[in-house]
Subunit: 252 residues, 2 copies
DNA sequence: ATTCCGTATTGATTTCGATCAGATCGATGC
DNA sequence: GCATCGATCTGATCGAAATCAATACGGAAT
């Protein structure tokens, strides 16, 4: 029996999300909502704009920061994909998260004042770098920005406690795919046709499963007609069905 | 062979941590460091003090807030013990965390704007209630307070990613005990003689293990001479040995 | 094309912790 | 004291996912 095949995702689906204008921000900027929506005047916007540093490109496999580096900045992904990983004393890696364009990396370093993980790009990536002392000082003058930082931190808290739950392997994988789709959709990409730029090993590690288990579950989901998958190109064929599997992981 | 028995913890070990003076805070207050240490003047301290509402006592089993309640406030534990739990659509409970005196409950509600979990007291408890709009407004004028809120959020992020890792049951339990001891010590209690006010079921649920497994591991740790345990009274006999087991969970 | 090598899939077996079942302990009330 | 009930502990069995092992795929270099 033939299994469904996905169409190739649009190669333009992952551009650098920056419209380049002087006092406006990347359309997907993690802070744009805090500023533009709150109706800040040009002076405030300029303050924020000035403290941003556009960095990149980083090629796949490069480090943005490493464990124990002193915490100085948070990084908003402009384009590309990043993972954060910890390495325990025995050398076991643990993927903490994947970050898409418009999302912010490094918030978990605030308390320890050192990055508690490595941030590694999985495909060519660009970032906005925000000095943390500068952005928190500005946040004191821009309540909307302060609020946005609180929200980003709290959101990330919610993310981790989803995966911290104990769930069957199939539920985890379904939740992972559903979540990725939703996050991509939130950033204006297709929520149903996407590219898994991370390896199966990384996915498995993130989900606290063996790579073989992830592989088996992907084929099972494909046989059930919920997804189409060829290599790293994924299409969600039945979002409702997949969401039903993910329900116990995500809905609370 | 006789197994070691703990001495009873000092019953005074868990007082209401409030010295009662007008413009000073509970000695264990989660925000005291942000204020007193930063040398704020009386006016600022009074602002913070005014927005605090002392609530309690709550008896064991009472709810501070419930899932889906609109988010209005964060709660600092003054005395007692709280757990936060989610309930999935099938009714499975999931303990997200335990909160000791001096710690803050409710931060994960900022982003969704509704509490994503129930907060339930496990023993008689008192709280300081901080209206979130009020405290974040004040934070904009008190950089030290803003910083403290960021740190609390970031700290909680670090906590959850510890338990999110995949670790052997014994490592989890060892890490749990070690962590509890350290957190109690940080609040001025004994770090080696403590009372597990939560049930074995709650501990197991928090660690994503079966209650039977937790029980077995406690006896194993006792047989190894690492802990003494009688009912809910625990003494850490060999902090280094226990820490070695916990090392892969905690050290990164 | 062909080789090479890292990545992914598929199959066989093992293992750790869950589940099922029963015993024991401890606090409370009669 | 004695009965009762919930919580905890201990033992026996089961099962989902890990591990071990081998094969297949796919892109890059020759």
């Amino acid at each position: 029996m033939p299994t469904p095949r996905p169409q190739r995702p649009d190669p333009r689906a992952n551009p650098i999300a920056d419209d380049g204008s002087e006092v406006r921000f990347c359309s997907t900027c993690a802070f744009s909502g805090a500023c533009v929506a709150a109706g800040y005047d040009k002076a405030h916007l300029r303050d924020l704009h000035v403290l941003v540093e556009h960095i990149g490109p980083f090629r796949a496999g490069e480090h943005i920061f490493r464990t124990h580096d002193p915490f100085r900045a948070i990084y908003a992904v402009r384009a590309g994909l990043v993972k954060t990983v910890t390495v325990d004393p025995e050398g076991n890696e643990q993927v903490l998260g994947f970050y898409l364009p418009g999302e912010v990396v490094g918030l978990n370093a605030i308390y320890p004042e050192h990055y508690p993980c490595d941030a590694v790009t999985l495909e060519t990536a660009h970032f906005c770098r925000f000095s943390f002392p500068a952005i928190s000082a500005l946040a004191a003058r821009m309540p909307g920005l302060q609020q946005q930082l609180f929200r980003l931190l709290s959101k990330e808290l919610g993310m981790t406690s989803l995966l911290a739950g104990d769930h069957a392997a199939e539920e985890r994988v379904a939740a992972f795919v559903t979540d990725l789709g939703e996050r991509l959709a939130a950033q204006g990409f297709s929520g149903t046709r996407l590219r898994l730029s991370m390896s199966r090993v990384d996915i498995a590690n993130y989900l606290r499963l063996a790579a073989e288990t992830v592989s088996r579950i992907f084929t099972r989901l494909r046989d059930q007609g919920l997804i189409a998958l060829e290599g790293r190109d994924l299409e969600i064929l039945d979002p409702a069905g997949l969401g039903a599997l993910a329900r116990n992981v995500r809905e609370r």
